[in-house]
């Protein structure tokens, strides 16, 4: 059965082939072309995700290679309980967070978590971050600490719930809520400084 599908696909290309079918065909035949098609479909998006999380294009390129290597080695463990893309982006998130943790160990240890006082104002202005321009978001993410950046990206870019963010960051739910709250407060400070500077330079 798979052989006939394989031969038909060779003639037709992969435009009508689902990700799950490509995974099955790759597992059955170890044919490079099936994995190459999955890479073609997702590598750009994985790169975009890595660049947003890691904020460094060289590191993002390295991460894409490592993520797809990990996928090759673990593809036999892929269960159909979620889609291939969900599985791939979960691996991407975990990989980026591992990299951020390694990178930030020294930085975080020198920066206490209670660096900012959380005012009630930051609670009320929760949604301001949803309405920012790409330039403002890029600046804010570039200035935040590694883990704060990851938490906000997971929330605002990936639309993950607090529970999903907690699982990805390997934190409890209340710790995640606190992390998000602090990250937003820091983001607000960064934004105020940046927008003040921008308006001064425009005047």
């Amino acid at each position: 059965m798979l052989l006939s599908v394989h031969l038909a696909l060779q003639a037709l290309g992969f435009s009508d082939t689902s990700d799950a079918e490509l995974v099955d065909l790759y597992l059955a035949s170890r044919g490079e072309r099936y994995f190459a098609e999955l890479y073609r479909r997702y590598s750009t998006r994985v790169y975009g995700k890595c660049l947003t999380m890691l904020n460094d294009s060289h590191e993002a390129h390295d991460a894409v290679q490592e993520i797809f290597e990990r996928v090759i080695l673990r593809i036999g463990n892929f269960r159909r309980t979620a889609s291939f893309s969900t599985w791939l982006f979960a691996i991407t998130n975990n990989h980026c967070i591992d990299r951020l943790r390694k990178r930030s160990r020294s930085k975080l240890s020198s920066a206490p978590v209670e660096e900012f006082e959380i005012s009630s104002e930051s609670e009320e202005t929760t949604d301001w971050l949803e309405e920012q321009s790409p330039a403002a978001i890029r600046h804010i993410l570039g200035e935040l600490s590694e883990i704060d950046r990851a938490a906000l990206v997971l929330m605002y870019m990936d639309d993950l719930s607090v529970r999903e963010i907690a699982t990805t960051l390997n934190l409890g739910e209340s710790a995640t809520k606190m992390r998000l709250k602090r990250a937003r407060a820091r983001a607000l400070k960064i934004y105020e400084t940046w927008s003040g500077r921008s308006s001064m330079s425009a005047a």
């Binding site: 994995f35 390129h61 290597e69 949803e130 321009s133 978001i137």
Partner: protein
């Protein structure tokens, strides 16, 4: 009532940034080809090793020889039948 469309609209800056960050990717599949081939090679070696172990077990090398079947009456022919005294 779902709030999803509103949220998507509100987060348009985030979505735009996501799309902008996807530009500039340089595709490089060659190193992955090497990983796939080395994976296949390791798989073949493991398969060969398992086959070798199974083969050794089958021909009885490295273990005690199979015990002769001394239970009478199990063979389909009459060779184990006691001789008649007449």
């Amino acid at each position: 009532m779902s709030t999803e469309p509103k949220r998507t609209y509100r987060r348009s800056g985030w979505r735009q940034l996501k799309e902008e960050n996807e530009h500039g990717f340089e595709s490089n599949f060659a190193p992955l080809r090497v990983v796939m081939r080395s994976g296949e090679l390791v798989g073949s070696i493991v398969e060969l090793f398992v086959s070798a172990i199974a083969g050794i077990g089958r021909i009885g090398l490295g273990g005690s020889p199979p015990e002769p079947d001394e239970t009478p009456g199990l063979l389909p022919d009459d060779t184990n039948q006691p001789e008649k005294s007449s």
